[in-house]
């Protein structure tokens, strides 16, 4: 039975190979695409899921009222305090968040770069980072113990046993060195982990290393990320309140009573471990973050592509069933049971699905690069590691194949099992619905793509009021003067100004007091000197720029002592003037950390990503805090040259410059709007895929329609219809469908896009012409795809069409 069906299946494929090729091709493309998406989503969703206690472990997060970010660092004693005082807290573990690159050297002199993190031994009990060799108790007992990853072990010791070996660790900057003992080898941390690291040092060293200040004032410095194990929390809010109160009380016992910790300054929340990856958008220290929105969009898009292909596939098979019905009818007369017909549908459909699945796997190595680029993350599928993923996808495909089979069976049920011969309206109806669905999707995707492009373009070309292209920020360490001279000697360096990088993805707002009214305006305080505005091409509206000769006593970026003899001069932006409600801003006394006065007002600039609206800004150079940082403007195309020049100064001073990025800030638009660019790329690619599948579908449909209308076309031509009239008659339906789908797609995409644009403070207009363009484009594409067949049919000599009947 099965063999017979297989043979028939092959024979039918041979006979109708064109249609099968088209339908399987369309399906394969969608399956390949959806496989990659499935792969991506699966990986994203599995991040941090390997921690067994993930639902009982929480991370402490600080909310900060005056920045747009959150922070995870907290005071060293919080963990022990909580464990001691709150019964729900069963255990805790602390780990340093910032892992500065260090040199790790073994006794044989082999040196590797590593990013050590200090942690409590309990870290490896709470979280599932497993040891390959060595013991945890040894780690706990050895204050200068270090756990290193397999990778580091291989690099440093090869096949030797690393346990008990000594390592010398040192910073790239500075001379401090100390010796560590390898107590264990850690299995490499999987990609699907938010927490990454290649070596971990016992936290006791941190307390030793941090020196005296720490021991005396541990409640003053937030240095560690804190995880607590609390399986019995009933009400997280209540728990958090308890922690807040208790921590503040405890801290105030230890702190200088003159500067007590206030509860409103300890605004914390607890984040469950399994939420760490997707719900940390604002957390400053976390590098490894997922975007739930992106995962959602990509899943929807992938699902739609798959649905589209399925609908296409069904349409084509329904078309084929024009011929199949006869076959099944004859089989019926010959005594085939309904069950057998059903089985045949199912088996064929599942076979087709398997073919497509096989194609997806075969093409994976070819396509994975392109797809990885598209999605923006590099993953490598490994059969031995990812068999669960592949298997589960296979199951999904089989299920889809099965469902399509069932669907087809019911759609052709009437035609096969009823005696009435004109029972095709049912499948015709289904076809229409499916085509409309495809066109709807297609139009919706095109509109979305056009708008995302439009928005990205808008962002890229919007006049943000200043120019940060070809500007590098340099943190000069102690070589300020030398760096400045070196750079100024180059013809391609146009200007240098002292100050911070003006563009900020994360910022804080501080209170600036208008002295006359004591009113406070929350503003961004930016350090910049007399040349700062000019360097960034910021327009000074009125007043004058800063006068650096009137500076407070401090070391400027060149390291020279500068005298101050008056109030601090500051520049403010229009937004500040507006919020402070100042009629005559020039000369207004402010208090910004010290007494200050407004000397100039500059035009508003968008110095944050365009998700955010303009904030009040105060620029000055002379507060009680300052920066040695300076900004370099250079000629287009000389970025790497300038970086080399900076590196050469560092190298000349024998200061290792392996980590140039640590000393240089460069704002890259591509980085800021990575998400949007990714989305744009993704939608473009999917529009192409959907376009491809839709065209296949349209061609197939037009093929069936013209085939089923051959006789009618002949008759009409005999009765005087011209080719154009026939084409119009055949294309008319498609035009109707496009128009119908367009009418449906417009409000829905409008709604979705409006929501999406809410992300931005600056939005492109949802212009009607983009909708019209998408509609026109779809109409043209549809007509082209359809006309290929209809023209052929319309040209056909009527004598021939009537003979064929």
């Amino acid at each position: 039975m099965l063999f017979k069906i297989l043979r028939q299946y092959l024979r039918r494929i041979m006979r109708n190979y064109k249609i099968y090729a088209v339908s399987i091709l369309g399906m394969s493309v969608a399956i390949i695409a959806s496989f990659h998406i499935y792969h991506f989503v699966y990986k994203e969703l599995s991040v941090d899921k390997f921690h067994e206690k993930r639902k009982d472990i929480y991370r402490l997060v600080n909310n900060s009222s005056n920045t747009n970010t959150q922070s995870v660092t907290t005071f060293l004693p919080v963990g022990p305090t909580l464990k001691r005082k709150i019964p729900e807290v069963k255990n805790y573990s602390r780990i340093t968040t910032y892992a500065e690159p260090h040199k790790l050297k073994n006794e044989a002199g082999i040196e590797l770069k590593a990013s050590p993190r200090f942690t409590d031994p309990s870290f490896f009990e709470l979280l599932n980072f497993d040891l390959k060799e060595g013991s945890l108790s040894k780690f706990a007992d050895t204050p200068n113990g270090i756990l290193i990853s397999e990778k580091l072990t291989n690099g440093l010791f090869g096949s030797q046993n690393p346990i008990g070996k000594q390592l010398i660790i040192s910073k790239y900057r500075g001379e401090s060195k100390w010796s560590l003992e390898v107590v264990g080898v850690l299995k490499n941390i999987p990609e699907e982990s938010t927490i990454q690291g290649d070596c971990f040092i016992n936290n006791e060293s941190l307390e030793i290393l941090a020196g005296k200040g720490y021991e005396i004032r541990p409640w003053n410095y937030g240095v560690v990320e804190l995880f607590i194990h609390a399986p019995d929390i009933r009400d997280l809010k209540e728990f958090t309140e308890k922690v807040k109160n208790l921590t503040v009380d405890e801290a105030n016992l230890m702190r200088n009573p003159k500067y007590p910790m206030k509860i409103e300054h300890f605004d914390i929340e607890f984040q469950r471990l399994d939420k760490m990856y997707f719900h940390s958008t604002n957390i400053r220290e976390q590098k490894n973050k997922g975007s739930l929105q992106f995962v959602k969009i990509i899943s929807i898009v992938g699902l739609l592509a798959l649905l589209l292909a399925i609908s296409n596939y069904i349409v084509m098979n329904l078309g084929l069933s024009l011929t199949r019905v006869k076959e099944f009818k004859i089989k019926r007369y010959l005594g085939t049971s309904k069950k057998q017909v059903f089985l045949q549908f199912i088996i064929e459909s599942v076979l087709n699905a398997m073919v497509c699945f096989a194609l997806a796997l075969i093409t994976y190595p070819l396509l994975s690069k392109a797809i990885a680029h598209l999605i923006g993350v590099e993953y490598h599928l490994k059969l031995e590691k990812d068999y669960i993923l592949i298997l589960s996808f296979l199951l999904i495909i089989l299920f889809i194949g099965f469902t399509i089979g069932v669907f087809q069976y019911f759609l052709s049920y009437h035609s096969v099992f009823s005696i009435n011969k004109t029972q095709t309206s049912n499948s015709w109806m289904t076809k229409r619905v499916l085509i409309n669905f495809q066109l709807f999707l297609f139009i919706g995707l095109i509109i979305s793509m056009l708008f995302i492009r439009k928005q990205v373009n808008y962002i890229e070309t919007k006049d943000i009021g200043f120019n940060f292209k070809n500007v590098l920020g340099v943190i000069p360490d102690k070589y300020g003067e030398e760096l400045k001279n070196e750079l100024l000697s180059k013809s391609y360096v146009e200007k240098i100004a002292g100050g911070q990088t003006i563009f900020k993805t994360e910022y804080r707002l501080d209170d600036v007091t208008i002295q006359s009214t004591q009113e406070k305006v929350k503003s961004m305080i930016v350090l910049g000197d007399a040349d700062y505005l000019e360097l960034y091409d910021i327009e000074l509206l009125y007043g004058k720029t800063l006068n650096t000769s009137k500076l407070q006593t401090f070391y400027n970026w060149t390291g020279n002592l500068v005298q101050r003899n008056g109030t601090v001069e500051v520049l403010v932006n229009e937004e500040f003037v507006k919020r402070a409600n100042l009629k005559n801003p020039i000369g207004t006394p402010l208090y910004v950390n010290s007494n200050s006065v407004i000397v100039g007002v500059f035009k508003n600039i968008n110095n944050t990503p365009l998700y955010e609206s303009i904030q009040p800004i105060v620029i000055g150079y002379d507060f009680s805090f300052f920066t040695s940082m300076f900004q370099v403007r250079f000629k287009e195309g000389y970025k790497s040259q300038v970086m080399d020049d900076i590196a050469s100064v560092f190298n000349r001073n024998n200061a290792s410059f392996d980590y140039i990025k640590d000393f240089i800030e460069y704002i890259d638009y591509e980085d800021i709007y990575k998400k949007e660019l990714q989305l744009k790329r993704l939608l473009e690619a999917f529009t192409v895929i959907v376009l491809f599948i839709s065209i296949l579908g349209l061609v197939a449909i037009s093929l069936f329609i013209t085939n089923s209308k051959t006789k009618e076309i002949g008759i009409r031509k005999v009765n005087g219809a011209t080719i154009n009239e026939i084409m119009f008659m055949l294309n008319k339906d498609f035009i109707k469908w496009v128009v119908g789908s367009f009418i449906l797609a417009c409000p829905i995409t409008y709604y979705v896009l409006k929501n999406w644009l809410e992300n931005f403070a600056y939005k492109t207009a949802l212009s009607w012409w983009v909708f019209a363009l998408a509609g026109a484009f779809t109409l043209i594409i549809t007509l082209l795809a359809v006309s290929w067949q209809t023209y052929r049919a319309a040209k056909q000599n009527p004598v021939k069409s009537l003979r064929d009947e």
């Binding site: 004109t422 006789k711 009409r716 031509k717 005999v718 009765n719 005087g720 219809a721 011209t722």
Partner: protein, 229 residues
């Protein structure tokens, strides 16, 4: 009205070359009723199609209404055919999805005649064909004879000068066949030229003239005594 000179039609398929018509010289005057007879495959339908401007001859000349149309392109043929020639086929060739009315209306639509005028003409011709009560029916719901009358109605609705009928009675019983022949005779009497392909001697007897075709050639032509008409 119809004049062919050494008309030939050759069909080329992959390997075989069929000479369906071989130097056919046929002359049909306006108002004539001509029957074409001959064995199956001798080229009758092919000849009718060329006369009806559905197809081009391979060789020879074809004068229709005094114009040389043998080399016309499809577009010009359609233009020439429209309103001038009506067709009746053995298998009726009605469109299943359209009602009787809509089927008959077709030629008028392509002649760009206004809807109200179309309605009048269609109803008139359907009355004449005695199926005025069936205008809203679909072809599937009619008998063979009724269907053929609809087809004839469609052929004549635009009042063409020439009607070409390819075995119009082939699918009908003798009673229905006779009715169809009576209709055609009546049309001819009103001035329509008719060229009809038939296998039936009885039907051929309605014609003024019988052309016998064999292997693509006209072998005999017999004219009925005008006195008998």
């Amino acid at each position: 009205m119809i004049k062919t000179e050494n008309l030939s039609k050759i069909f080329r398929t992959e390997e075989v070359e069929t000479k369906a018509l071989n130097n056919v010289n046929l002359h049909v005057k306006e108002g004539e009723f001509v029957a074409i007879m001959g064995p199956s495959g001798c080229g009758k339908s092919t000849l009718l199609n060329i006369i009806g401007l559905l197809d081009n001859p391979s060789e020879g000349a074809y004068m229709f209404n005094g114009k040389e149309v043998g080399k016309y392109k499809e577009g010009s043929r359609t233009q020439e055919r429209k309103g001038n020639i009506g067709f009746v086929f053995q298998s009726f060739n009605l469109i299943d999805e359209l009602t009787v009315f809509e089927n008959v209306e077709l030629p008028l639509i392509y002649l760009k005649i206004k809807a109200s005028e179309r309605k009048r003409l269609v109803n008139e011709v359907l009355e004449r064909m005695n199926i005025g009560h069936r205008t809203k029916h679909f072809p599937q719901q009619l008998s063979g004879g009724q269907q053929q009358r609809v087809a004839i109605a469609r052929a004549v609705v635009a009042n063409p000068k020439l009607i070409l009928a390819d075995e119009p009675t082939g699918n009908l019983d003798s009673k229905n066949g006779m009715e169809v022949m009576d209709l055609l005779t009546e049309l001819n009497r009103q001035g329509t030229t008719i060229v009809m392909v038939t296998h039936s001697d009885r039907d051929a007897n309605y014609a003024h003239r019988i052309v016998n075709l064999f292997d693509g050639k006209i072998v005999t032509e017999s004219r009925k005594d005008p006195a008998l008409v």
